[in-house]
């Protein structure tokens, strides 16, 4: 058997600029397995130094146009932790609603526009629409609904403007949120209805024993706060993150790679969350999980795709619950905290693609002196390489299209490459 090489110099249908270089030798031995990120560097952590505490979330938002909401909420919580600011329950609920809208938006884009074309045999959603118009329209409706929720709560869907340190500059009125309920109900039904199609995709399989990591909280499916947990027994506070997760630089990529200190690579994202926190899912999400026969013992990266559908349903049902429950005090002003002393704070949240970490240190006038940001794709990038290493000999042995199959594997993680270039410690 001759050696095979897959070299994808610009991976399509993922956010940002990344490449794959995999080489499998004649005997099935993997000679190279690189997931490189050539996305240009933007040095966020360098220029955040010298900026003020109240603009951190606004600037950090610009790390990523797909998950700006996750970066904003994480930055806000890190700042609030640093200054000892306690936000109201209403703020927590509205932030949760905002974050869930980002999950719905991002997951529906990933599942229906970036992933589905692989399994239905198209090069993109536009050509897929010719034969699967209903599916594409359903996905567009769901995405639009999510953006409308984000716009109402955050003022704007891409780079929201009303979430600030301590709360919101404007609270939406109950009468503005309630009209969304009917659309959310419909979307819930429609997305549940796609479970059969998504489950029917001909997934390659890749059984790996992996460490899965996410945040988890006692009371509900963790989104914006919780303890860092893994399926191998880690249970830590967000402040202790750096004791357990370390990074290293690799010469072929602009993104650093994360590892569990003393162990190895790990996977973050929808599958990790569903596996670790499934007991807190809503009934519809559990039904989706059952309909798609999602195996909770699995750490197959391809199963992230099914997990995304489960989480779309969860996010819709939870949003319905929040809108119904909320008693909105529209006059509420953002909470304030103490200033005047140097301080530091960290926060962990779940971005659509998984675990997101921000930490900032401030001087006594609230100016940033240090920043540390680790996005989900930086957490996952070493795991992607492990997966490619395990997966590629199987593809070669089975006579499959190595480049395409490797691309599909990378897309299953839904990497967000613009984000990933900012994994850094100052």
């Amino acid at each position: 058997m001759r050696s095979r090489r897959a070299s994808v110099c610009y991976i399509p249908r993922v956010e940002g600029q990344g490449s794959i270089d995999v080489e499998v030798g004649g005997g099935g031995k993997v000679r190279r397995s690189e997931f490189a990120i050539f996305e240009p560097m933007r040095f966020f952590e360098a220029f955040l130094k010298g900026r003020k505490f109240h603009e951190v979330h606004e600037l950090a938002s610009r790390i990523c146009g797909i998950c700006p909401i996750a970066h904003q909420i994480t930055a806000l919580r890190a700042v609030e932790n640093a200054f000892g600011i306690q936000v109201s329950e209403q703020t927590k609920e509205l932030r949760r609603l905002l974050a869930l809208s980002a999950w719905i938006q991002s997951h529906s884009l990933s599942v229906f526009f970036l992933t589905a074309p692989d399994y239905l045999g198209f090069d993109g959603a536009v050509s897929m629409a010719a034969e699967h118009r209903d599916l594409v329209e359903l996905a567009l409706r769901t995405k639009k609904l999510a953006n409308d929720v984000g716009e109402l709560v955050g003022g704007r869907a891409v780079h929201p403007i009303s979430a600030v340190v301590g709360g919101f500059t404007k609270i939406p009125a109950k009468e503005e949120l309630e009209p969304l309920l009917g659309r959310l109900q419909r979307a819930r039904k429609e997305v549940l209805g796609t479970a059969g199609i998504i489950a029917g995709f001909n997934y390659p399989s890749l059984e790996l024993r992996s460490e899965l990591a996410c945040i988890s909280s006692k009371d509900r499916y963790a989104v914006n706060e919780g303890r860092l947990v893994t399926n191998m027994g880690l249970d830590a506070t967000e402040a202790d993150y750096r004791k357990f997760i370390v990074e290293r630089q690799v010469p072929y990529s602009n993104a650093k790679q994360s590892r569990m200190a003393g162990r190895g690579t790990f996977m973050v994202g929808p599958l990790a969350r569903v596996v670790l926190n499934h007991a807190q899912l809503t009934p519809g999400a559990r039904k989706a999980m059952k309909d798609m026969e999602l195996d909770l013992g699995s750490s197959d990266p391809f199963m992230n795709i099914k997990a995304r559908v489960v989480e779309i349903v969860y996010a819709i049902e939870e949003s319905i619950g929040i809108i119904r429950r909320l008693r909105l005090d529209v006059a509420e002003q953002p909470a304030r905290g103490r200033t005047g002393l140097p301080c530091a704070g960290a926060a962990l949240t779940e971005a659509p693609r998984g675990l997101l970490y921000h930490r900032y240190a401030f001087d006594k006038s609230g100016v940033i002196t240090a920043a540390d940001i680790v996005p989900p794709t930086a957490h996952n990038s070493a795991h992607v390489e492990d997966s490619l290493r395990a997966f590629s000999p199987k593809v070669v042995a089975g006579g499959g299209d190595l480049s395409l199959q490797c691309e599909m594997l990378v897309r299953a993680y839904d990497p967000c490459i613009s984000c990933s270039v900012h994994a850094v410690v100052l």
Binding site: P12, R13, P40, A46, G124, A125, L140, N147, V158, K170
Partner: protein, 254 residues
């Protein structure tokens, strides 16, 4: 050929993909656009691509590597109408804040080993090639994107706004954030197009659409300081979305 569809290309350089996301927010129009245009390059959305020529080319992001510069010149030569799509492509947006830090300092504060890094100070695409149109905003509102696409399809000048955010703000009957509440609002020097969302959400404009034509940044900075803002904070205010532009660079400390 008469019935050949115009060809659209969407490129991303140094940026966050938010402008492409805003383009994808045209959920009601996307399929119609796809019927009238042939999308020939859009890596985030589809696998097939070709290298031109393009009738309309949207470039998101700024230029910060030699590879991008080379690519930009190639794309310019292949494009009939080339649009700087969003603030990064116009003048560097938020990431341009790093242009005030030396290259070595920026690199070494982020990476232990800087030997293999290839990057230079970032600039808008107009620094290097002729640009036919400019879509301001971080991100440009989807209505502006639609306007740019439809007018390019018809071969007419797009109806973009050149007046300040204040005009949109008055039309929404907001209380003046600057005069009445004394908050440091960038509205008077910032180009309209967003619909004055920040003042409508009870907060000051941060200037994310960049300068309006003929902006008087110097006067506004003086007003901020009169209202108690420190010199450093005033610099931060102008060195955010458009610090590199001619209109803001003095106040941004260049």
């Amino acid at each position: 050929m008469v019935d050949e569809k115009p060809r659209l290309a969407v490129f991303k350089f140094t940026g966050c993909a938010g402008c492409q996301m805003e383009l994808l927010r045209l959920e009601d129009e996307l399929l119609q656009i796809a019927e009238r245009l042939d999308v020939t390059y859009f890596m985030m959305a589809q696998s097939k691509f070709d290298l031109g020529p393009y009738d309309l080319c949207l470039i998101e992001g700024s230029v910060s590597t030699p590879r991008e510069l080379e690519e930009l010149k190639r794309i310019r030569a292949a494009s009939r109408v080339l649009v700087a799509f969003g603030d990064c492509a116009v003048a560097g947006c938020v990431p341009s804040i790093r242009n005030w830090i030396s290259q070595y300092k920026a690199e070494s504060s982020v990476y232990e080993n800087t030997a293999h890094l290839v990057s230079f100070r970032l600039q808008g695409i107009g620094e290097y090639v002729t640009v036919d149109g400019v879509l301001p905003g971080c991100p440009p509102h989807k209505a502006l994107i639609l306007e740019a696409i439809t007018s390019a399809l018809q071969g007419i000048r797009p109806d973009l706004k050149y007046h300040p955010v204040c005009v949109e703000c008055k039309l929404r009957e907001n209380v003046c954030i600057l005069r009445s509440l004394g908050k440091p609002c960038m509205g008077p020097v910032t180009r309209a197009g967003c619909g004055a969302i920040c003042p409508t959400y009870c907060r000051e404009c941060e200037g994310c659409y960049g300068p309006m034509s003929d902006a008087n940044a110097e006067h506004l900075a003086r007003l901020f300081k009169k209202n108690g803002m420190s010199d450093d904070d005033a610099v931060r205010k102008f060195r955010k979305y458009a610090g590199m532009t001619d209109e803001f660079r003095t106040e941004a400390g260049l």
